[in-house]
Symmetry: D2
Subunit: 232 residues, 4 copies
Amino acid sequence: MTLGFKTALIVGAGAGLSASLGRQLAAEGVKVALAARSTEDLAGLAREIGAATFACDASRQRDVEQLFSDLDKGPGSPEIVIYNPSYRTRGPVADLDPAEVEKSLMVSAFGGFLVAQQAVRRMLPKKSGCIVFTGASASVKGYAQSAPFAMGKFALRGLAQSMARELHPKGIHVAHVIIDGGIRSERRQEPADKPASMLDPDAIAASYLGVIRQSPSAWSHEVEVRPWVENF
Amino acid sequence: MTLGFKTALIVGAGAGLSASLGRQLAAEGVKVALAARSTEDLAGLAREIGAATFACDASRQRDVEQLFSDLDKGPGSPEIVIYNPSYRTRGPVADLDPAEVEKSLMVSAFGGFLVAQQAVRRMLPKKSGCIVFTGASASVKGYAQSAPFAMGKFALRGLAQSMARELHPKGIHVAHVIIDGGIRSERRQEPADKPASMLDPDAIAASYLGVIRQSPSAWSHEVEVRPWVENF
Amino acid sequence: MTLGFKTALIVGAGAGLSASLGRQLAAEGVKVALAARSTEDLAGLAREIGAATFACDASRQRDVEQLFSDLDKGPGSPEIVIYNPSYRTRGPVADLDPAEVEKSLMVSAFGGFLVAQQAVRRMLPKKSGCIVFTGASASVKGYAQSAPFAMGKFALRGLAQSMARELHPKGIHVAHVIIDGGIRSERRQEPADKPASMLDPDAIAASYLGVIRQSPSAWSHEVEVRPWVENF
Amino acid sequence: MTLGFKTALIVGAGAGLSASLGRQLAAEGVKVALAARSTEDLAGLAREIGAATFACDASRQRDVEQLFSDLDKGPGSPEIVIYNPSYRTRGPVADLDPAEVEKSLMVSAFGGFLVAQQAVRRMLPKKSGCIVFTGASASVKGYAQSAPFAMGKFALRGLAQSMARELHPKGIHVAHVIIDGGIRSERRQEPADKPASMLDPDAIAASYLGVIRQSPSAWSHEVEVRPWVENF
């Protein structure tokens, strides 16, 4: 079964998950655009999958408008949009730096809105498109000492739900994937005594593609993935 | 990507969803067994996909034991088990027939336990297997005038969650799929003024196969599917 | 603020929670009836609060019908009904005794339906009444090795939700209280190294009375209570 | 049973709910402080219940710091803090003004953090205090055309959960009350054909006081209230 889409934008493209997503989308013949605050680290992946790269701070309105205007002129407006960025800071509520809490809300949630708004404006006339937001365990459970991340991720989930209820009947699929665990990467591997305790980014990306591929007759809005050994 | 399993059992095989599941599993090379209270209606599908059929009232312990013992002797114990049966009766709480309420609990939930128990006993030594329970909107929301269905489907969800927490770390994938809407069938089509308001069983089955195919590194426990036009 | 009700029935009256409920209701001038499988242990409490006692296995239709018929003839049909009974058995899914699983469903959930049905029939003509179901952590989370309890408590929650949606607009308040932790009793005290880790039954009962006392303009359906030191 | 607290701060004091809260707290002998962006409308209530008033934009760090510093010097730091402010704007995602979305996050959620942080710093040394956040239907369900309100209220719920998990074991009660419906006021009454469809602020306030009064042995974190006729 084909994906049914030809162009994709991955925002927050620096993460390992994004590399897996980019490769799997490209393997389906999708033309991929990668956006991140800095494009420096994207060069290798971009070359590998033939992707265009864009510098964009997703929490800034002007940056996001510029990104979509560049896409319009270049590779074309994206039929698939995946929003990954988040910012977290930890600590007791009494000790948190308010500026960091605000940044959490801006990067994790407000940026999701900015990107989604631009995407939706381009998808509505075609009555087609798929927007996927990347959630975390903190999207549904506010952990102690981690209020800012919970605030940002809860807010992103509220955005995703509201968009799904508005946009599904308009032909635009809005999904929220809850990644319940740490994602394995070159820098971050599970400790020797906890094998298999992290998520393989390729396995997560396969579930994203499964959701993107769904028929409108049976769309998922929320999907959670976790390693088999994870407590939940 | 292959499914990674060679045998499957579909319980409650009379429904349209089961036909779609059976066809898609067979197309992946899986040997399918179909169980239902009456096997009469299964003959056509069984022939089409080369499946064995078994008569079994899933809410009766003896029937379920017999079913698995027959599978052991014949097609082999199932690596994939899908549990569909449910029984519903509607009405104000004051008017419900207690025997019908009990039947709802027995068919929708207790039968799920009986089947899962037999399956798990055979999967544990292999540290492998996948059990999927079919849920409904009523699994997470108790609707007015529909207490018996809510009781049965909530209970089934409790079973699925408890099993996932016990069995994921033992290599057995337990999933609960919430089908949020009516399933299209020959007998039951959407009204002319509500096109696309029902779920296509082939589309649902595709999501079941997506879950069955998942890598243990990123298993979903709960997945919901609904038509794009559905309110939720 | 008065409770606004004059008669109450507590089912599953053997537990420490029920003694606290009985005392607090009696202190508000409510005439209390206590029902339990065996009335032997109820004599002291009954004398203390001037309650009538009734032997009743709440999972048996005939017992429940007899109970309400006795109440009709004696202390009067209850305006407040509290349903506490549950039955739990633990163990890996592969090892559970199916008869015990069935008993869990019958006592924890089906009995709740039987009692509620009789109560509702008597409350509907008066467009008034309050039914409270006692839930547990397992009402919303299926723990490993505890599938039967999860099945029973999830089912009871489904019943409570469905009843609330049907009966709130008919003037009958239906509440579900999730007790997230162990309840302190004479037989069961917290270990020395975990002070304050259990719930005081008087404190729980105070929250029940708070819910019973609510104005229809701001009814709670679901309330959770847990000790301040409890992880959740 | 006494409340156990002597001082309270109500933030977002302009709303009808706050007047009810102020009166009921004052009736329990609690010294109340009222904070709102503008104190103009607070004069009547302040006189009636002997409250001090403070001008404060809760979404601005400096304002909130000033508020608590003024409280420290004057009526004393609050043992009870209630956070009500929210800002909402409606419309399709494509048409929303990003500045309004940001304001929703700042007023509904970030302000809650700023106020809570100041309160917690003063409560921690006493190992005592109660913080109540006012939620809405949108705290748990993202409605179509109402993404900004969902984002703000979801984020506030994430903050409340995270704080409860951190601070309950430190003796500080953190509660989140979901008001599922419109609140009746002089300006806003239910239409003639939908009597009783709004919440009476006095009835809501009674539930807030019930939560504030709870023993640490059985604290509620989340409570929902809705009118008896409300669909949910």
